[in-house]
Amino acid sequence: MTTKLEPVNPIKLSRRWFFEQCGVGLGSAALHSLFAESGYAAQVDPLAPKAPHFAPKAKNVIFLFMAGAPSHLEIFDNKPMLKKFDGTLPPPELLKGYRSAFINPNSKLLGPKFEFKKYGQSGAELTNLVPHLSTIVDDIAIVKGMVTDAFNHAPGQVLMNTGAMQFGRPSMGAWVTYGLGSESRDLPAFVVMSSGKKGPSGGTSCWGSGFLPTVYQGVEFRSAGDPVLYLSNPAGVDSQIQRESLDSIRKMNEIHLGATGDPEIATRINSFEMAFRMQTSAPELMDIAKESKETLELYGAEPGKPSFANNCLLARRLVQRGVRFVQLYHEAWDQHSALVKDITQNCRDTDRAAAALIQDLKRTGLLDSTLVVWGGEFGRTPMVQGGEDGRDHHPNAFTMWMAGGGIKPGITLGESDDLGFNVVKDKVHVHDLHATMLHLLGFEHTRLTYKFQGRPFRLTDVHGQLVPKLLA
């Protein structure tokens, strides 16, 4: 390295920086080290596409988060014995050390409220709450052995998203974006949408970046109005004035880049250019009216009317445009009471669109490279809450399903006991789910790390086992 300092020639520097590093940065496949310390200056594009540890099966993820926790006993997990013992007290040894949220654990058992039938070649058992899902069971893997550590909503959702009950850890979308970068030049890499009655209990921490750089946090899109905050030109500003303003900002920034030589200014120029592109691309993305009538019907989507169905269709459009991680929240499945009525409504609101998403991804060829995950933060108690039409929170056993992106289709994995209380076979902890998701994306989950507070952190913390039985 030369020690004699030449007089400043920042113009030269800026040109080189601008064209070599910034102008084409997003398209190039520079292999960045996953283990690089966080930059205190964003001089290296932190969203540049990166290669994972090994060849991935999935490039994108769509996570359908059924917030509030759906009852596994009403949809997936057929328990004739629970029906038989309806109205009796659970065996005391089952309750040893068991903590519940609202009820006295020693409450009477409540038989399943819906009838199960076998569907598809795989013979998966489902109730008639999910008639659409039952048509695609051969495309999905039903995981009946899910367990978690939390039995309250906010900690449960945060655990499902970040691998820890304590707030402050990066979400899986943030980890994946950190690990893989973005394929989209004009949309965020990690997009979150919500439908249903309310937002998730965990709030924005569900898609936060924790201690990872903030560029990796999820960006909320709305399915009506401005999809992204402050996307539209201000009132009275037409596109000509906006373009001229941006041109001026760019010229002024370039002049200053020349004077100071700070490549951060080049990054700022790029940020404004991408913002301008987003002003066009995001509304175009959100305009589902351009989809065929058949597609809209498949999902049950209606342009201009926000719904889970619209969000599912948008998820497919996002993935098509290179968005890495899409998360759709649908609250609330929290049926402490009015179980029959409310879970029927929840299924009516989500079943068709979730199944349509799989069908649509499949026919557009995206399913192979898109991992779809459906589930909530925990399950529901086999015991009743209130009179005879509600269930409390239950962490010991619940069901999720996964599809695409390297997941073995048409299987049911795991088993709970006769009452649907504990998992007895092929237990999958939330950490194991994370390890498996990362594996499908090409990561050895123990090696996708970020050093913080003097130690390497990872999504699975010190836990997590790959679930090979789920892999195609």
Partner: protein
């Protein structure tokens, strides 16, 4: 790393590396036999010993002992190279570099020679940060002309060693902008710049430094950094995320910096201000630091579980924010890297574990004076009464004797069983005295069902006592934000005990008495329930009238409401069962509002039920304190008891009516104040256990308060409590405390700390760029009495700080992150300051310091479902409150303020001592289109047109000075003057209303100066918007 590589590697080198497996390449380079001590042991030390060393021997392997290592020799290379079937080593950490792997292979292949030194235990040098700093002598430097103070000697010595020359001084205007942004977070006014540029006196710079250090905005600027680490937010977090009252703590921090409170005092007050002798309001408020943890009041929680979560959070905050040592790891196991044992973690934990978590009333200085005045005048009136009635003592004694003679009914306290379903999610926790303490989620309407099994044969009356508790807001006795509650209905039924077939019979309440019966008044608007029904509070009869909309209230007004109260219910028929009875009470609490995710409950906070066989029992009119004082023999009473007695007694004397009403009037002026979450030490010690794997359900051995052995010892004098811990943190021999804070100050100035990992100075921290400078600053800080402003003065007066930030290409290449400090700092300011700059430049900034947090404009949908979990109140501020500094923006943890979130402000979910600094398109959209930024652009344009003169060049210069603190260059002027011309034409197009863009409210456009057109206002708004969006505008350079 990436950037350096890009600069240093040639394309050819890249091609070679791409073609050959990396490990092999490095192996080729490392063919010569590696030296164990030089090449191998350091790898083992940093990457392996934590699991295979002296303390831990995972899989039985010890890499610090030859025998063990050689026994496992064949496995070592495949494991670290990841070539075998097993998991790659080191587990859970980054793999070794190809160079290291190459060395290990070469070492193994060459026969694994082992140097003797490794077998005999070599005393390991203690990690630098765990040794108390001693003041190093500033090094000698060749260039004796450069540099003003010792900081510069340390910096220059390193530069000379690297053969790099420092940069020259930055232009004066740039320097003053840098200094103003650093010390106050606000840009200098054009006048301040002009006067500094003109000032040629030798002390010109120092004058500016002192002016800015004395500004009240200095405290605001430096408070923000501390508040990040203190995980400050205005709401609880988790699902409910209710607003909370903690701005008094935020103001405490601002004032502490402004007063230049010594840092050791500042820290100890936040850890244990409540335990200091004669603690002031400020010192108690300071403990809000520990209370900034999130609170989960989601229905169905175990309050103890989340108290423990909050404890972990406090430990984490103390570790990162004050100690600068990561202690969180030891929550579950011994620290893997630092010498912290799990037991030591729980010994620190024990210091913090013995507190009540309540909220105290806080008053502004003016309110405190008002209160002192009320107390003084009350005392005056009482003394006066006593003077005028010399026999008062005897009369009071006679009254007391009579009062004590009135027989009190015999009460039996019962311990009810709580029906879990009936609580609406609130937790009723049984206390030792038989009372129930309400915690957790607070439903705004519920009827709790309480069952008691009593052996009493006769029950004719029931007493309900409302009690204070340090864990309730303002000590209760209720759970409303004022510590009050309301009882809508009190009903009961009963059945004979021991007869499972008996059906419970409803028991009517015939009459009721209470020690407070207020006149009927409508519920406060806070508790509106959208029912349109008339809802009121009033006397105890409201609790037995069968009407849910009326309730017994006990809010006697500020200064008088947070006292115990009681009511007695006489049953219409005595419950009479030879075998005893099962009695179920239904305690209806319906006086809350519609939104249980907000502070709208009026639940009873702590209460106790007692039974009596006396059908005529009434509520004792004497307050508990008065009865207690009366029970003490007259000559044994303290003056305070005597005073309290008199204050009560005088009210019973009819002829003193006038004086009594004067006092009553006086107390009506008692200020409402606000409240603040604080800690109070519990009188009895809560046991602390070491928790197995950090799980509070698996308590291990009992531990007592203590400190880690690798740090300084606990002060020998005084009790071993939270205060001792606070003093220990800031004792002169604490190795990390001073280093940690000066490092964070440095980080704020230069964008990166001397130790980059500001939250962790432990063995895994990044090595300091200037270790001796760090120690020198730390010692200087402590020796000057932990004087924070003195450290600022040293830094900003140094030549290092005053360098030009323009980077040559070579310098950019050699030192992209400016770790050598051969140039001045240049980086984007923090999110809050991004906004403050726009507000200040536009002239809109409201400079008020302190007070409740404010709600500037934000999209309304953010605060309602389905975006937020529950509905949140965000009443957009009108008038100048919109334009307060961003520090005062209300912070909901679950719905962060969008502008601040997008510019990397932390949301307070965990302590943050080092922010990310991103540069994203969402930031661009925000500064371009967010309503507040538009308002600032418009205001700046109008101010310019009104004040700058008629020439466009004058206007442009005016704007430049306000936004960038400098004059435009020729090229810049050309660009923007042509822009304004074009836009003027654009906005003059027929049919176009320029006010649509240029006015906040196009229906009511502002008045413009003479000869100025709306099209000009719009065109200049385009220009001001361009200027406010420049990288330079939001950058300190």
């Amino acid at each position: 790393m990436g950037i350096q590589r890009r600069f240093t590697q040639t394309a050819a080198a890249r091609a070679v590396i791409a073609a050959i497996p990396l490990a092999a390449l490095f192996y080729l380079q490392a063919q010569s036999k590696p030296d164990f001590n030089k090449d191998i042991r350091p790898i083992f030390e940093t990457s392996c010993y934590s699991c295979h060393g002296e303390k831990v021997q995972s899989g039985g392997l010890r890499l610090d002992q030859q025998a063990s290592a050689l026994a496992h020799l064949v496995g070592i290379y495949p494991r670290v190279a990841g070539t075998g079937p097993q998991q790659r080593m080191p587990l859970g950490a980054a793999p070794l570099t190809p160079a290291q792997i190459g060395l290990i292979k070469a070492w193994v292949d060459s026969g694994a020679a082992w140097a003797d030194t490794a077998t005999s235990a070599v005393p390991k040098k203690k990690h630098w940060a765990f040794v108390p700093p001693v003041r190093p002598a500033p090094p000698t430097v060749k260039n004796v002309k450069w540099g003003r103070n010792p900081i510069d000697r340390f910096v220059l010595a390193k530069l000379e060693a690297e053969q790099v020359a420092p940069s020259g001084e930055a232009p004066k205007a740039t320097l003053l902008r840098r200094l103003s942004l650093d010390l106050t977070g606000l840009p200098p006014s054009p006048e301040e710049v002009a006067s500094f540029v003109k000032d040629t006196s030798p002390k010109a710079w120092e004058k500016q430094v002192e002016r800015l250090l004395a500004s009240p905005h200095y405290g605001e600027k430096w408070a923000r950094q501390w508040l990040d680490g203190a995980r400050y937010a205005d709401s609880d977090g988790y699902e409910k995320d209710k607003p909370r009252f903690v701005w008094a703590y935020r103001d405490y921090v601002i004032n502490a910096f402004n007063k230049n409170l010594p840092y050791n005092q500042f820290v100890s007050e936040q850890l244990a201000g409540d335990l200091m002798p004669n603690a002031t309001q400020d010192q108690k408020v300071a403990t809000g630091f520990l209370r900034n943890s999130m609170v989960n009041e989601e229905g169905g929680i175990d309050p103890e579980q989340f108290r423990m979560e909050a404890m972990y959070d406090r430990m984490d905050a103390v570790g990162k924010n004050i100690l600068g040592v990561t202690i969180q790891c030891a929550q579950c196991h011994n620290h893997k890297y630092d010498p912290l044992q799990q037991e030591e973690y729980y010994r620190i934990f024990a210091f913090l574990n013995n507190s009540h978590e309540g909220a105290m009333a806080v008053y502004t200085p003016a309110e405190q004076m008002k209160i002192a005045d009320i107390l003084r005048r009350t005392k005056e009136i009482e003394t006066n009464l006593q003077h005028r009635n010399p026999t008062w003592r005897d009369r009071m004694a006679a009254w007391g004797d009579a009062a004590m003679k009135v027989a009190q009914p015999e009460w039996t306290v019962v311990k009810p069983e709580v029906d879990d379903i009936s609580t609406g999610g609130q937790k009723y926790i049984l206390q030792e005295d038989g009372s129930l303490l309400a915690q957790g989620y607070a439903p705004t309407k519920h009827t709790v069902k309480l069952t008691v099994k009593t052996p009493l044969k006769q029950v004719a009356s029931v007493r309900l006592e409302l009690l204070n508790d340090p864990n309730l807001p303002l000590s209760g006795p209720g759970r409303s934000i004022r510590g009050t509650g309301a009882l809508s209905e009190f009903t009961l039924d009963a059945a004979p005990l021991g007869d499972p077939t008996a059906k419970a019979q409803k028991i009517k309440v015939a009459s009721a008495t209470a020690d407070i019966n207020l006149p009927e008044s409508p519920l406060d608007a806070t508790y509106a329930d959208k029912s349109n029904k008339k809802r009121t509070m009033g006397p105890i009869q409201f609790a037995i009238d069968g009407v849910d909309e009326t309730a017994w209230g006990h809010d006697a007004g500020p200064g008088q409401r947070n006292v115990p109260r009681k009511a007695v219910f006489n049953l219409a028929e005595t419950i009479s069962n030879e075998s005893g009875s099962v009695i179920t009470f239904y305690v209806k609490q319906n006086a809350g509002g519609w939104n249980s995710d907000d502070n709208q409950n009026q639940n009873l906070g702590r209460f106790r039920i007692s039974l009596s066989s006396d059908p005529k029992a009434t509520a004792d009119p004497l307050p508990m304190a008065v009865r207690e004082a009366l029970a003490v023999a007259r000559d044994k009473r303290s003056p305070q008891q005597e005073q309290a007695l008199f204050s009560y007694y005088r009210k019973t004397v009819p002829e003193w009516k006038d004086d009594n009403s004067t006092v009553e009037e006086l107390w009506k002026g008692y200020p409402e104040g606000s409240s603040q979450l604080v800690l109070n030490e519990r009188p009895s010690v809560r046991e602390t256990h070491q928790l197995t794997r950090g799980d509070f359900l698996q308590p291990g051995k009992l531990v007592t308060g203590g400190v880690p052995s690798f740090l300084n010892p606990l002060p020998a004098d005084g009790p071993v409590n939270r205060l001792a811990f606070a003093k220990w943190l800031v004792s002169r021999d604490a190795p990390t405390t001073a280093r940690s804070y000066v490092n964070r100050i440095w980080l704020a100035y230069f964008g990166v700390g001397i130790v980059e990992t500001a939250e962790d100075l432990g063995t895994q921290s990044s090595p300091p760029s200037h270790p001796e400078l760090l120690d020198w600053l730390a010692v200087e800080f402590m020796d000057k009495g932990w004087d924070v402003k003195a450290i600022h003065r040293l830094i900003v007066n140094s030549s290092t700080y005053r360098q030009n930030s323009v980077a040559s290409e070579e310098l950019q290449a050699k030192d992209p992150y400016n770790r050598l400090l051969a140039r001045g700092p240049r980086f984007r300011v923090d999110g809050e300051i991004v906004r403050d700059i726009a507000l200040a430049a536009s002239g809109l900034l409201d400079e008020k310091v302190g007070g409740p947090s404010v709600n500037p404009p934000a999209p309304a949908f953010l605060f309602v479902p389905p975006t937020s979990y529950g509905p949140k109140v965000w009443n957009e501020a009108k008038g100048s409150e919109r334009y307060r500094r961003a520090l005062y923006t209300f912070r909901f943890r679950s719905v962060p303020y969008p502008m601040l979130q997008v510019f990397d402000s932390p949301n307070g979910e965990a302590a943050c001592v080092r922010r990310s600094r991103s540069n994203t398109p969402l930031q661009a959209l925000t500064t371009l289109n967010e309503p507040m930024f538009l308002e600032t652009a418009r205001a700046l344009a109008q101010k310019t047109l009104n004040e700058a003169g008629a020439e466009d060049t004058q206007r442009l210069r005016f704007m430049f000075r306000r936004v960038l603190s400098r004059e435009p260059s020729g090229a810049e002027a050309d660009e923007l003057l042509s822009l304004v011309k074009r836009e003027q034409q654009n906005f003059s197009t027929a049919g176009r209303d320029p006010w649509k863009f240029a006015a906040n409210d196009p229906e009511h456009p502002p008045t413009l100066a003479k000869n100025v057109t709306p099209a000009q206002a719009a065109a200049w708004t385009v220009v001001s918007r361009v200027l406010l969006n420049l990288d330079e505008a939001i950058t300190k350079e």
